[in-house]
């Protein structure tokens, strides 16, 4: 059991600052997902926690102990790489014992650990094979096994599922979650896939361009994104951003030829005449005929949308259309979907919408 604290961490490569003032802490046993688009610095941050990249300034503490200048092997961490990084010339067994061998652990102890972990991950029949003889999913398992045998303080995962096909990725995702529930080790998990972050993490750190945008629970990140970047990055299809102006004290007028009027969400403190961005997630639209707000007792407002295209996915149908001339994407149940090129009536769950400042992009 161990904690991680990162204070005012910065990293520069020459004149390029790739991490700017990162502050982050993980409680013992927590599963933290670092998520963001490629180039946001999440992998660099993980490498710095592992000790594979030097720290430009700031501090990294594991269990309160400053590790800035400690070698990777002295940090007592284990890492699973995107490429798995299994040693190609060693058998699965040798891959798993290599770390223990380097640390001078007795052969009998090594054997006991191998048996324990191999049983847990169901890789006992693979122990004498070479990595080249394994399938993608099996390699993934072995990579996790190699991390598990040493019983380290902390697990670091660097996009471990991105080399797997879609079906296997979902299977392994739940295995990782199950594993974390069983082992309960502090885990830092880097991914660019917001669904992985949402499903696995106890807390998510959303990063963009080297800046930590928001660090909170998945639910909080989804419901109350700190800014338009977080709102747009988390959730699929992505959140709709509608330009609007505050009028008549408590009303929002959507920009566009038709000038649709909506009531301002409650507890929104915005001045009359101010420009805002209204953020509505696709699933917070629903066809008026489905009467979802009545069934669920939600506060909603009706709105007309012109539907231009349908994308059925099976479980839900994605609708592309326009509200007050502005592009929107909404989702609904397949049997409630309108047809293409019609104007249909929807309602918006006003409790779930967000308002953003168009200049700073911060949520109001």
């Amino acid at each position: 059991m161990s904690t991680l604290e990162i204070n005012d961490l910065r990293k520069s490569f020459g004149a390029v600052e790739v991490l700017k003032n990162i502050n982050l802490s993980a409680r013992s046993g927590e599963f933290v997902a670092l998520v963001g688009p490629s180039g946001c610095g999440k992998s660099t941050l993980l490498s710095m926690i592992a000790g594979l990249e030097s720290v430009s300034s700031g501090e990294i503490r594991i269990d309160g102990h400053l590790v800035n200048d400690e070698a990777p092997k002295d940090r007592d961490i284990a890492m699973v790489f995107q490429s798995y990084a299994l040693y190609p010339t060693m058998s699965v067994r040798q891959n798993m014992t290599f770390g223990m061998e380097c640390r001078g652990i007795a052969k009998s102890e090594q054997e006991r650990e191998i048996q324990r972990v191999a049983t847990m991950l169901q890789i006992t029949p693979l122990l004498d094979r070479k990595p080249g003889q394994l399938s993608g999913g099996q390699r993934q398992r072995v990579a996790m096994g190699r991390a598990l045998v040493r019983d380290p303080k902390m697990f670091l995962f660097d996009e471990p599922l991105s080399n797997l096909d879609a079906k296997l990725r979902i299977e392994m995702r739940s295995e990782i979650k199950k594993l974390h529930q069983n082992v309960g080790k502090t885990t830092i998990y880097v991914t660019h896939d917001q669904i992985e972050a949402m499903t696995l993490a106890t807390r998510i750190a959303v990063m963009n361009k080297g800046v930590l945008q928001q660090y909170d629970t998945p639910d909080e990140i989804y419901r109350r994104p700190a800014n338009m970047f977080v709102a747009g990055f988390m959730g699929s299809p992505t959140m709709n951003f509608l330009n609007a102006t505050v009028v008549q004290g408590r009303m929002l007028r959507l920009e566009g030829a038709e000038g649709v009027l909506l009531p301002l969400p409650e507890n929104a403190e915005v001045a009359d005449g101010r420009s805002v961005v209204l953020g509505v997630r696709p699933e917070h639209f629903s066809p008026l005929v489905a009467r979802r707000s009545v069934r669920k007792g939600l506060k909603s407002v009706p709105i007309r949308a012109f539907i231009e295209m349908l994308e059925p996915t099976g479980a839900e149908t994605i609708l592309m259309g326009r509200v007050a001339g502005q592009q929107v994407v909404l989702t609904c149940e397949p049997d409630e979907a309108p047809t293409e090129n019609v104007e249909a009536e929807f309602e918006i769950d006003m409790d779930r919408v967000c308002l953003f400042d168009p200049d700073t992009q911060v949520r109001l």
């Binding site: 490498s47 594979l52 890492m79 770390g99 080249g132």
Partner: protein, 300 residues
């Protein structure tokens, strides 16, 4: 690294109509046969001459089918033929060459492996510069280094010794071996090194347990390259050694140099083939890996 999928070779000669296929095959095999003959002919002629009696060669000329054959000239060339005043055959010089080529090959390959490992996996400030200077040796003509080497060997007291030649060939060879090994190790994923460092392995353990087991293809390339290069090398051997300390390539030049008595073409031919056998043997054993290693990573 290892790929389990079985690939079937694409055969471009098996496409198109029957007539085109036949014409294509005839052209390809015809041209290949012609060039193979051009390269094999001299070897065949020299070999046949080792079997012919001297007076037959003198009478019928060099290019002719042997009337009578004998292996006698081989044993004479090996142990009793007189070269440059001593009559011990080429065996002594053959041994000299082995004593020079084997240690020099081993040392230059070992240094190249370590250099390549450092320059590809343990990057440091100025590493590109260091690599550039080392590989400069590949492009420097050997003649340019003659005088500096003569000076160094003289200072070290290694003039006219096999050890001196080992030193020269090791240092000269490091440029090539470093270039080969460094480029080969660039294809070894850095993640392996990172994983090993997290596992707690240090510089030498990573080299021994991860890098070396991945090295056989490039090891074979450098060994073949170095061994054939050093064995066949003539300039340094001739300049820095004389008499009984010469490698075989320098020694057999004495045939043309002596010029006094009658020329024993058959014994000389046998000596020349003996001098060519070790590189040939190395290539026959490792040639398959050599070609594979040279092209590895070129096409993924």
């Amino acid at each position: 690294m290892a790929d389990m999928t079985q690939r079937t070779e694409f055969d471009p000669l098996a496409t198109g109509g029957k007539g085109r296929q036949r014409r294509a095959r005839l052209t390809v095999y015809g041209l290949l046969g012609l060039f193979a003959a051009i390269y094999l002919m001299p070897a065949v002629i020299i070999f046949l001459n080792t079997l012919r009696p001297l007076e037959e060669i003198v009478r019928q000329g060099f290019i002719s089918w042997p009337g009578s054959m004998s292996l006698h000239h081989w044993s004479e060339a090996w142990s009793s033929f007189c070269i440059g005043g001593t009559c011990e055959g080429v065996s002594r010089y053959f041994t000299n060459s082995l004593l020079m080529a084997v240690p020099a090959t081993a040392l230059s390959t070992a240094l190249g492996l370590v250099n390549g490992y450092v320059l590809s996996k343990w990057r440091f400030r100025g590493d590109a510069w260091v690599f550039g200077v080392i590989t400069l040796g590949v492009f420097l003509p050997a003649q340019m280094t003659l005088l500096p080497w003569a000076f160094v060997l003289g200072k070290l007291g290694l003039s006219n010794t096999i050890s001196g030649l080992v030193l020269v060939h090791t240092v000269q060879g490091v440029s090539f071996t470093t270039l080969f090994c460094r480029n080969y190790f660039l294809n070894v994923p850095d993640d392996l090194i990172k994983a090993a460092r997290i596992d707690g392995a240090g510089f030498w353990r990573i080299f021994r347990r991860i890098i070396l087991p991945l090295s056989p293809p490039i090891l074979i390339v450098t060994v073949i390259w170095q061994f054939t290069g050093i064995w066949n090398e003539f300039l340094f051997g001739t300049v820095f050694t004389s008499g009984a300390n010469q490698p075989i390539t320098s020694a057999i030049v004495a045939f043309s140099g002596s010029g006094t008595g009658e020329r024993h073409y058959n014994v000389e031919a046998a000596s020349v083939i003996m001098a060519a056998l070790p590189p040939l043997f190395i290539y026959l054993v490792g040639g398959k890996y050599f070609v594979r290693g040279l092209t590895q990573g070129a096409v993924k």
